[in-house]
Protein backbone atom coordinates (compact mmCIF):
# COMPACT_ATOMS: atom_id res chain seq x y z
CA UNK A 1 0.00 0.00 0.00
CA UNK A 2 1.52 3.30 -1.09
CA UNK A 3 -0.12 6.01 1.03
CA UNK A 4 -0.31 9.70 0.23
CA UNK A 5 1.81 11.79 2.58
CA UNK A 6 2.47 15.48 3.03
CA UNK A 7 5.82 16.72 1.74
CA UNK A 8 7.21 20.06 2.91
CA UNK A 9 9.66 21.96 0.72
CA UNK A 10 12.86 22.58 2.67
CA UNK A 11 14.81 24.28 -0.10
CA UNK A 12 14.71 25.09 -3.78
CA UNK A 13 17.86 24.69 -5.89
CA UNK A 14 18.26 26.29 -9.29
CA UNK A 15 20.08 23.67 -11.37
CA UNK A 16 19.83 25.24 -14.83
CA UNK A 17 17.62 27.94 -16.38
CA UNK A 18 14.97 25.27 -16.99
CA UNK A 19 15.55 22.88 -14.11
CA UNK A 20 15.03 23.18 -10.37
CA UNK A 21 15.50 20.66 -7.58
CA UNK A 22 13.34 20.56 -4.49
CA UNK A 23 14.65 19.25 -1.19
CA UNK A 24 11.68 17.77 0.64
CA UNK A 25 10.92 16.79 4.17
CA UNK A 26 8.71 13.69 4.11
CA UNK A 27 8.53 12.31 7.65
CA UNK A 28 7.48 8.74 6.89
CA UNK A 29 9.09 8.08 3.55
CA UNK A 30 10.23 4.45 3.51
CA UNK A 31 13.37 2.93 2.13
CA UNK A 32 13.79 3.26 -1.59
CA UNK A 33 16.17 2.12 -4.27
CA UNK A 34 18.11 4.43 -6.55
CA UNK A 35 16.13 4.90 -9.76
CA UNK A 36 12.65 4.87 -8.22
CA UNK A 37 10.15 7.71 -8.50
CA UNK A 38 7.37 9.38 -6.53
CA UNK A 39 3.91 10.50 -7.53
CA UNK A 40 2.98 13.99 -6.49
CA UNK A 41 -0.57 15.37 -6.26
CA UNK A 42 -1.58 19.01 -6.32
CA UNK A 43 -5.03 20.19 -5.26
CA UNK A 44 -6.69 23.44 -6.40
CA UNK A 45 -9.24 25.29 -4.23
CA UNK A 46 -12.11 23.94 -6.33
CA UNK A 47 -11.02 20.36 -5.63
CA UNK A 48 -9.37 19.81 -9.00
CA UNK A 49 -6.28 17.65 -8.69
CA UNK A 50 -3.30 16.96 -10.90
CA UNK A 51 -0.79 14.15 -10.49
CA UNK A 52 2.62 13.60 -12.02
CA UNK A 53 5.56 11.27 -11.48
CA UNK A 54 9.07 12.56 -10.74
CA UNK A 55 12.24 10.55 -10.34
CA UNK A 56 14.04 10.76 -7.03
CA UNK A 57 17.38 12.52 -7.42
CA UNK A 58 18.80 11.97 -3.94
CA UNK A 59 20.52 8.80 -2.77
CA UNK A 60 18.59 6.25 -0.69
CA UNK A 61 21.07 6.57 2.16
CA UNK A 62 23.14 9.38 3.53
CA UNK A 63 20.80 12.17 2.41
CA UNK A 64 18.86 14.19 4.95
CA UNK A 65 16.16 15.10 2.47
CA UNK A 66 14.26 13.55 -0.38
CA UNK A 67 15.11 15.45 -3.53
CA UNK A 68 13.20 15.64 -6.79
CA UNK A 69 14.34 17.50 -9.89
CA UNK A 70 11.77 19.12 -12.16
CA UNK A 71 12.33 20.31 -15.72
CA UNK A 72 10.10 23.16 -16.89
CA UNK A 73 7.72 22.11 -19.65
CA UNK A 74 6.38 25.41 -21.01
CA UNK A 75 2.86 24.25 -21.81
CA UNK A 76 2.78 21.87 -18.87
CA UNK A 77 0.47 22.02 -15.91
CA UNK A 78 2.56 20.89 -12.96
CA UNK A 79 6.16 21.80 -13.84
CA UNK A 80 5.38 25.55 -14.36
CA UNK A 81 3.74 25.51 -10.93
CA UNK A 82 6.89 24.04 -9.40
CA UNK A 83 9.06 26.55 -11.21
CA UNK A 84 7.03 29.73 -10.78
CA UNK A 85 5.20 29.25 -7.50
CA UNK A 86 6.69 26.68 -5.14
CA UNK A 87 8.94 28.07 -2.43
CA UNK A 88 10.37 26.94 0.89
CA UNK A 89 7.68 25.89 3.34
CA UNK A 90 5.09 24.93 0.72
CA UNK A 91 3.37 21.59 1.06
CA UNK A 92 1.94 19.10 -1.38
CA UNK A 93 0.98 15.45 -1.37
CA UNK A 94 3.40 12.77 -2.39
CA UNK A 95 3.50 8.97 -2.41
CA UNK A 96 6.16 6.42 -3.14
CA UNK A 97 8.61 4.96 -3.67
CA UNK A 98 7.35 3.51 -6.95
CA UNK A 99 9.08 1.57 -9.69
CA UNK A 100 10.93 -1.69 -9.99
CA UNK A 101 13.13 -2.65 -12.91
CA UNK A 102 14.83 0.72 -13.31
CA UNK A 103 16.68 0.49 -10.00
CA UNK A 104 20.24 -0.17 -8.98
CA UNK A 105 21.58 -1.41 -5.65
CA UNK A 106 25.26 -1.59 -4.72
CA UNK A 107 25.19 -5.39 -4.52
CA UNK A 108 24.23 -5.58 -8.21
CA UNK A 109 27.87 -4.90 -8.92
CA UNK A 110 29.28 -3.44 -12.10
CA UNK A 111 30.61 -2.20 -14.30
CA UNK A 112 27.70 0.18 -14.37
CA UNK A 113 26.84 2.00 -17.59
CA UNK A 114 24.52 5.00 -17.33
CA UNK A 115 23.30 6.85 -20.40
CA UNK A 116 21.12 9.91 -19.89
CA UNK A 117 19.46 12.42 -22.16
CA UNK A 118 18.36 15.79 -20.77
CA UNK A 119 16.52 15.45 -17.47
CA UNK A 120 16.78 11.67 -17.92
CA UNK A 121 19.95 12.07 -15.87
CA UNK A 122 17.89 12.47 -12.67
CA UNK A 123 17.38 8.79 -11.66
CA UNK A 124 20.96 8.08 -12.84
CA UNK A 125 22.17 10.78 -10.43
CA UNK A 126 20.44 8.95 -7.58
CA UNK A 127 22.43 5.83 -8.56
CA UNK A 128 25.70 7.78 -8.75
CA UNK A 129 25.07 9.44 -5.39
CA UNK A 130 24.26 6.06 -3.89
CA UNK A 131 27.41 4.60 -5.38
CA UNK A 132 29.54 7.49 -4.11
CA UNK A 133 28.15 7.07 -0.58
CA UNK A 134 29.09 3.41 -0.26
CA UNK A 135 31.92 2.26 1.93
CA UNK A 136 34.89 0.58 0.32
CA UNK A 137 35.76 0.60 -3.33
CA UNK A 138 32.85 1.54 -5.58
CA UNK A 139 32.10 -0.39 -8.76
CA UNK A 140 33.44 0.95 -12.04
CA UNK A 141 30.85 3.31 -13.49
CA UNK A 142 30.43 5.55 -16.51
CA UNK A 143 27.90 8.23 -17.31
CA UNK A 144 27.37 9.31 -20.89
CA UNK A 145 25.15 12.37 -20.68
CA UNK A 146 23.63 14.11 -23.68
CA UNK A 147 22.44 17.67 -23.28
CA UNK A 148 21.57 20.44 -25.69
CA UNK A 149 24.11 22.92 -24.33
CA UNK A 150 26.51 23.28 -21.43
CA UNK A 151 24.03 25.60 -19.65
CA UNK A 152 21.50 22.79 -19.63
CA UNK A 153 23.75 20.17 -18.02
CA UNK A 154 22.08 19.34 -14.71
CA UNK A 155 24.31 18.62 -11.65
CA UNK A 156 27.34 19.67 -13.68
CA UNK A 157 29.50 20.81 -10.76
CA UNK A 158 28.76 17.72 -8.72
CA UNK A 159 29.37 15.39 -11.67
CA UNK A 160 32.68 17.03 -12.53
CA UNK A 161 33.77 16.91 -8.91
CA UNK A 162 32.80 13.24 -8.72
CA UNK A 163 34.78 12.50 -11.88
CA UNK A 164 37.77 14.45 -10.59
CA UNK A 165 37.89 12.66 -7.25
CA UNK A 166 36.97 9.15 -8.33
CA UNK A 167 39.25 7.24 -10.71
CA UNK A 168 36.58 4.58 -11.12
CA UNK A 169 33.98 6.99 -12.47
CA UNK A 170 34.12 8.10 -16.11
CA UNK A 171 32.07 11.13 -17.15
CA UNK A 172 31.38 11.92 -20.81
CA UNK A 173 29.28 14.90 -21.82
CA UNK A 174 27.97 15.46 -25.30
CA UNK A 175 26.33 18.72 -26.34
CA UNK A 176 24.02 18.32 -29.30
CA UNK A 177 23.08 21.91 -30.17
CA UNK A 178 25.62 24.36 -28.90
CA UNK A 179 29.20 23.92 -27.73
CA UNK A 180 31.29 26.54 -25.94
CA UNK A 181 34.55 27.65 -27.59
CA UNK A 182 37.30 25.08 -27.10
CA UNK A 183 34.84 22.35 -26.11
CA UNK A 184 36.62 18.99 -26.09
CA UNK A 185 33.67 16.77 -25.24
CA UNK A 186 31.11 15.24 -27.58
CA UNK A 187 29.30 17.51 -30.01
CA UNK A 188 26.63 15.26 -31.49
CA UNK A 189 23.89 12.85 -30.53
CA UNK A 190 24.89 9.61 -28.84
CA UNK A 191 26.08 7.16 -31.50
CA UNK A 192 27.90 3.84 -31.66
CA UNK A 193 31.34 5.40 -31.78
CA UNK A 194 30.62 7.33 -28.62
CA UNK A 195 29.27 4.25 -26.82
CA UNK A 196 32.26 2.22 -28.01
CA UNK A 197 34.62 4.76 -26.48
CA UNK A 198 32.82 4.75 -23.14
CA UNK A 199 32.55 0.95 -22.97
CA UNK A 200 36.19 0.49 -23.99
CA UNK A 201 37.23 2.54 -20.96
CA UNK A 202 34.61 1.02 -18.64
CA UNK A 203 34.70 -2.64 -19.58
CA UNK A 204 31.65 -4.69 -20.57
CA UNK A 205 28.83 -3.40 -18.41
CA UNK A 206 27.08 -5.78 -16.04
CA UNK A 207 24.06 -3.50 -16.09
CA UNK A 208 23.09 -0.56 -18.28
CA UNK A 209 20.49 2.08 -17.48
CA UNK A 210 19.19 4.38 -20.18
CA UNK A 211 16.86 7.27 -19.40
CA UNK A 212 15.66 10.20 -21.46
CA UNK A 213 13.11 11.20 -24.05
CA UNK A 214 11.51 8.32 -25.96
CA UNK A 215 13.51 8.75 -29.18
CA UNK A 216 16.79 8.97 -27.28
CA UNK A 217 16.08 5.82 -25.29
CA UNK A 218 14.91 3.85 -28.33
CA UNK A 219 18.07 4.80 -30.18
CA UNK A 220 20.56 4.16 -27.36
CA UNK A 221 18.98 0.89 -26.22
CA UNK A 222 18.99 -0.34 -29.79
CA UNK A 223 22.68 0.56 -30.21
CA UNK A 224 23.53 -1.33 -27.01
CA UNK A 225 21.70 -4.41 -28.30
CA UNK A 226 23.57 -4.04 -31.62
CA UNK A 227 26.80 -3.94 -29.65
CA UNK A 228 25.98 -7.34 -28.23
CA UNK A 229 24.82 -6.47 -24.71
CA UNK A 230 22.16 -8.88 -23.44
CA UNK A 231 18.74 -7.15 -23.62
CA UNK A 232 17.90 -8.26 -20.07
CA UNK A 233 20.88 -6.26 -18.73
CA UNK A 234 19.56 -3.05 -20.32
CA UNK A 235 16.99 -1.14 -18.29
CA UNK A 236 15.14 1.78 -19.80
CA UNK A 237 12.95 4.58 -18.64
CA UNK A 238 11.32 6.89 -21.14
CA UNK A 239 9.54 10.10 -20.36
CA UNK A 240 7.82 12.97 -21.98
CA UNK A 241 5.39 13.15 -24.85
CA UNK A 242 6.49 12.12 -28.31
CA UNK A 243 5.48 13.49 -31.64
CA UNK A 244 3.76 10.29 -32.59
Amino acid sequence: MVEWQVATVKRVLVETPRVKSFGLDVPDFGRFRAGQHVDIRLTAPDGYQAQRSYSIASAPEGADELQITVELIEDGEVSPYFHDVVREGDQFELRGPIGGPFTWTVNQGGPLLLVGGGSGVVPLMSMLRRRAAREGEPVEAALLYSSRSLDEVIYRDELERMAGEDQRFDLSLTLTREQPPGWSGGARRVDMQMLDGVIDRLGEPGMSYVCGPTGFVESVASLLVDRGLAPETIRTERFGPTGT
Binding site: M1, V2, V6, D39, R41, L42, T43, A44, P45, D46, G47, Y48, Q49, A50, Q51, R52, S53, D75, G76, E77, P80, Y81, V85, D90, Q91, F92, E93, I98, G99, G100, P101, F102, T214, V217, E218, A221, S222, L224, V225, P231, E232, I234, R235, T236, E237, R238, F239, G240, P241, T242, G243, T244
Partner: protein
Protein backbone atom coordinates in the same frame (compact mmCIF):
# COMPACT_ATOMS: atom_id res chain seq x y z
CA UNK B 1 -21.55 11.81 -25.44
CA UNK B 2 -21.08 15.26 -23.98
CA UNK B 3 -21.15 15.52 -20.21
CA UNK B 4 -21.34 19.07 -18.85
CA UNK B 5 -18.30 20.21 -16.96
CA UNK B 6 -20.10 20.75 -13.66
CA UNK B 7 -21.16 17.12 -13.66
CA UNK B 8 -17.58 16.17 -14.36
CA UNK B 9 -16.23 18.21 -11.45
CA UNK B 10 -18.95 16.92 -9.19
CA UNK B 11 -18.10 13.30 -9.92
CA UNK B 12 -14.45 14.06 -9.19
CA UNK B 13 -15.23 15.57 -5.81
CA UNK B 14 -17.53 12.69 -4.91
CA UNK B 15 -14.83 10.27 -5.89
CA UNK B 16 -12.38 12.07 -3.71
CA UNK B 17 -14.51 12.22 -0.60
CA UNK B 18 -15.18 8.51 -0.95
CA UNK B 19 -11.51 7.66 -1.25
CA UNK B 20 -9.69 9.86 1.20
CA UNK B 21 -11.48 8.41 4.22
CA UNK B 22 -12.13 11.82 5.72
CA UNK B 23 -8.46 12.81 5.89
CA UNK B 24 -7.74 16.47 5.43
CA UNK B 25 -7.09 17.60 1.89
CA UNK B 26 -3.86 19.53 1.43
CA UNK B 27 -4.52 22.48 -0.84
CA UNK B 28 -1.52 23.48 -2.93
CA UNK B 29 -0.88 27.19 -2.44
CA UNK B 30 -1.26 29.06 -5.69
CA UNK B 31 -2.28 26.01 -7.72
CA UNK B 32 -5.40 26.44 -9.81
CA UNK B 33 -4.80 23.83 -12.48
CA UNK B 34 -4.33 24.40 -16.14
CA UNK B 35 -6.73 21.96 -17.66
CA UNK B 36 -5.71 22.10 -21.26
CA UNK B 37 -6.99 20.71 -23.47
CA UNK B 38 -10.38 20.26 -21.88
CA UNK B 39 -11.52 16.62 -22.10
CA UNK B 40 -14.37 16.00 -24.51
CA UNK B 41 -15.68 13.51 -21.96
CA UNK B 42 -14.55 12.70 -18.43
CA UNK B 43 -11.15 11.13 -17.91
CA UNK B 44 -10.32 8.99 -14.86
CA UNK B 45 -9.17 10.63 -11.61
CA UNK B 46 -5.54 11.74 -11.52
CA UNK B 47 -5.16 11.58 -15.31
CA UNK B 48 -4.32 14.40 -17.73
CA UNK B 49 -4.89 14.61 -21.46
CA UNK B 50 -1.97 13.98 -23.75
CA UNK B 51 -1.84 14.85 -27.44
CA UNK B 52 1.27 12.80 -28.11
CA UNK B 53 1.67 9.11 -27.47
CA UNK B 54 4.25 8.52 -24.73
CA UNK B 55 6.04 5.20 -24.42
CA UNK B 56 6.55 3.11 -21.30
CA UNK B 57 8.79 0.04 -21.55
CA UNK B 58 11.26 -1.44 -19.10
CA UNK B 59 13.86 -2.53 -21.65
CA UNK B 60 14.93 -2.35 -25.27
CA UNK B 61 12.24 -2.74 -27.91
CA UNK B 62 12.39 -6.38 -29.05
CA UNK B 63 13.12 -7.12 -32.70
CA UNK B 64 10.29 -9.11 -34.16
CA UNK B 65 10.46 -10.96 -37.48
CA UNK B 66 7.00 -11.39 -38.97
CA UNK B 67 8.22 -14.37 -41.03
CA UNK B 68 8.70 -16.41 -37.86
CA UNK B 69 6.19 -14.64 -35.63
CA UNK B 70 3.32 -16.59 -34.13
CA UNK B 71 1.02 -16.38 -31.16
CA UNK B 72 -0.60 -19.04 -29.04
CA UNK B 73 -3.40 -19.69 -26.62
CA UNK B 74 -2.39 -22.12 -23.90
CA UNK B 75 -3.81 -23.76 -20.80
CA UNK B 76 -2.49 -26.57 -18.58
CA UNK B 77 0.71 -26.78 -20.60
CA UNK B 78 -1.18 -27.47 -23.81
CA UNK B 79 -1.42 -25.30 -26.89
CA UNK B 80 -5.09 -24.80 -27.75
CA UNK B 81 -4.54 -22.54 -30.74
CA UNK B 82 -1.66 -21.08 -32.71
CA UNK B 83 -1.61 -18.44 -35.45
CA UNK B 84 1.14 -17.09 -37.62
CA UNK B 85 1.03 -13.53 -38.99
CA UNK B 86 -0.96 -14.39 -42.12
CA UNK B 87 -3.41 -16.58 -40.23
CA UNK B 88 -4.03 -13.77 -37.74
CA UNK B 89 -4.64 -11.30 -40.59
CA UNK B 90 -7.15 -13.72 -42.13
CA UNK B 91 -9.37 -13.72 -39.02
CA UNK B 92 -12.29 -11.24 -38.81
CA UNK B 93 -11.02 -7.74 -37.99
CA UNK B 94 -12.68 -5.62 -35.30
CA UNK B 95 -12.27 -1.86 -34.86
CA UNK B 96 -12.32 -0.04 -31.52
CA UNK B 97 -12.58 3.73 -31.07
CA UNK B 98 -11.81 4.43 -27.42
CA UNK B 99 -9.85 6.42 -24.85
CA UNK B 100 -6.70 4.94 -23.31
CA UNK B 101 -5.27 5.57 -19.85
CA UNK B 102 -1.67 4.99 -18.76
CA UNK B 103 -0.76 4.52 -15.09
CA UNK B 104 1.93 7.21 -15.59
CA UNK B 105 -1.03 9.66 -15.63
CA UNK B 106 -1.62 10.43 -19.29
CA UNK B 107 -4.85 9.68 -21.08
CA UNK B 108 -5.40 9.89 -24.80
CA UNK B 109 -8.87 10.30 -26.22
CA UNK B 110 -10.44 9.03 -29.43
CA UNK B 111 -7.83 6.48 -30.45
CA UNK B 112 -8.51 3.93 -33.20
CA UNK B 113 -7.34 0.34 -33.10
CA UNK B 114 -7.88 -2.70 -35.29
CA UNK B 115 -7.28 -6.32 -34.50
CA UNK B 116 -8.89 -9.63 -33.68
CA UNK B 117 -11.12 -10.13 -30.64
CA UNK B 118 -10.24 -12.92 -28.24
CA UNK B 119 -13.76 -14.24 -28.93
CA UNK B 120 -12.83 -14.66 -32.59
CA UNK B 121 -9.55 -16.35 -31.64
CA UNK B 122 -11.53 -18.77 -29.47
CA UNK B 123 -13.89 -19.50 -32.33
CA UNK B 124 -11.00 -20.04 -34.72
CA UNK B 125 -9.43 -22.52 -32.30
CA UNK B 126 -12.73 -24.24 -31.51
CA UNK B 127 -12.56 -23.16 -27.85
CA UNK B 128 -16.13 -23.07 -26.54
CA UNK B 129 -15.51 -22.46 -22.83
CA UNK B 130 -12.84 -20.14 -21.38
CA UNK B 131 -9.95 -22.43 -20.34
CA UNK B 132 -9.44 -20.64 -16.97
CA UNK B 133 -10.72 -17.74 -14.90
CA UNK B 134 -7.48 -15.76 -15.33
CA UNK B 135 -5.00 -15.22 -18.10
CA UNK B 136 -1.32 -14.27 -18.27
CA UNK B 137 -0.39 -12.44 -21.43
CA UNK B 138 3.26 -12.97 -22.34
CA UNK B 139 5.46 -11.11 -24.78
CA UNK B 140 8.73 -10.98 -26.63
CA UNK B 141 11.31 -9.50 -24.27
CA UNK B 142 9.89 -11.39 -21.29
CA UNK B 143 7.04 -9.03 -20.37
CA UNK B 144 3.94 -10.53 -18.74
CA UNK B 145 0.68 -9.16 -17.34
CA UNK B 146 -2.28 -10.84 -15.67
CA UNK B 147 -5.99 -10.25 -16.25
CA UNK B 148 -9.32 -11.85 -15.34
CA UNK B 149 -10.54 -13.82 -18.35
CA UNK B 150 -13.89 -12.01 -18.37
CA UNK B 151 -12.05 -8.73 -19.00
CA UNK B 152 -10.79 -9.88 -22.38
CA UNK B 153 -13.97 -11.55 -23.67
CA UNK B 154 -17.25 -10.22 -25.12
CA UNK B 155 -15.42 -7.82 -27.41
CA UNK B 156 -13.63 -6.01 -24.57
CA UNK B 157 -10.13 -6.77 -25.89
CA UNK B 158 -8.21 -7.14 -29.12
CA UNK B 159 -5.08 -8.74 -30.36
CA UNK B 160 -4.31 -5.43 -32.10
CA UNK B 161 -2.12 -4.90 -35.14
CA UNK B 162 -3.19 -1.43 -36.35
CA UNK B 163 -3.24 1.94 -34.62
CA UNK B 164 -4.81 4.91 -36.36
CA UNK B 165 -4.98 3.03 -39.65
CA UNK B 166 -1.29 2.10 -39.69
CA UNK B 167 0.70 -0.91 -38.47
CA UNK B 168 1.52 -0.43 -34.78
CA UNK B 169 5.05 0.97 -34.42
CA UNK B 170 7.55 -1.23 -32.57
CA UNK B 171 7.91 1.30 -29.73
CA UNK B 172 4.17 1.14 -29.17
CA UNK B 173 4.10 -2.65 -29.11
CA UNK B 174 4.02 -3.57 -32.78
CA UNK B 175 3.63 -5.73 -34.67
CA UNK B 176 0.99 -7.06 -32.28
CA UNK B 177 -0.09 -5.97 -28.82
CA UNK B 178 -2.88 -6.96 -26.52
CA UNK B 179 -5.42 -4.14 -26.28
CA UNK B 180 -7.64 -3.91 -23.18
CA UNK B 181 -8.60 -0.23 -23.06
CA UNK B 182 -10.86 -0.30 -19.98
CA UNK B 183 -7.83 -1.10 -17.79
CA UNK B 184 -4.60 0.88 -17.31
CA UNK B 185 -2.52 0.53 -20.43
CA UNK B 186 0.23 -1.65 -18.93
CA UNK B 187 -2.39 -4.45 -19.14
CA UNK B 188 -2.35 -4.02 -22.94
CA UNK B 189 0.84 -6.05 -23.28
CA UNK B 190 3.16 -4.89 -26.06
CA UNK B 191 4.78 -7.44 -28.41
CA UNK B 192 2.33 -10.10 -27.23
CA UNK B 193 3.08 -13.69 -28.22
CA UNK B 194 0.51 -15.61 -26.27
CA UNK B 195 -2.23 -15.93 -23.70
CA UNK B 196 -1.74 -18.52 -20.98
CA UNK B 197 -4.97 -19.29 -19.16
CA UNK B 198 -4.88 -20.21 -15.47
CA UNK B 199 -7.27 -21.12 -12.68
CA UNK B 200 -5.75 -18.74 -10.10
CA UNK B 201 -4.64 -15.15 -10.47
CA UNK B 202 -0.87 -14.54 -10.42
CA UNK B 203 1.14 -11.32 -10.76
CA UNK B 204 2.78 -10.37 -14.05
CA UNK B 205 5.80 -8.12 -14.55
CA UNK B 206 4.64 -4.75 -13.16
CA UNK B 207 2.23 -6.40 -10.74
CA UNK B 208 5.19 -8.15 -9.06
CA UNK B 209 6.71 -4.68 -8.54
CA UNK B 210 3.69 -3.50 -6.60
CA UNK B 211 1.37 -2.33 -9.33
CA UNK B 212 -2.30 -3.23 -8.95
CA UNK B 213 -3.45 -6.75 -9.84
CA UNK B 214 -6.53 -5.44 -11.70
CA UNK B 215 -5.84 -1.81 -12.65
CA UNK B 216 -9.22 -0.09 -13.12
CA UNK B 217 -8.41 3.55 -14.01
CA UNK B 218 -11.86 4.76 -12.88
CA UNK B 219 -11.12 3.41 -9.38
CA UNK B 220 -7.53 4.70 -9.66
CA UNK B 221 -6.10 1.24 -8.98
CA UNK B 222 -2.50 2.15 -9.75
CA UNK B 223 -0.66 0.30 -7.02
CA UNK B 224 -1.37 -2.66 -4.73
CA UNK B 225 -3.84 -1.59 -2.06
CA UNK B 226 -5.37 1.27 -4.10
Amino acid sequence: MNIPFDHYMCSRLLWRSAHTGGTEIVLSRGFFGNRRPEPTRPIPPGQYLEDGFPVLSAGPTPRVDLATWDMSIEADGETLGKWDWEQLQALPATDMHVDIHCVTKWSKQDTDWRGVTIDDLFESAGITEPPGDYVMAYSDGGYTTNLPTEDILDGKALIAYEYDGEPIEPGHGGPVRLFVPHLYFWKSAKWVRGLRFMEEDAPGFWEAYGYHMYGDPWKEQRYAGD
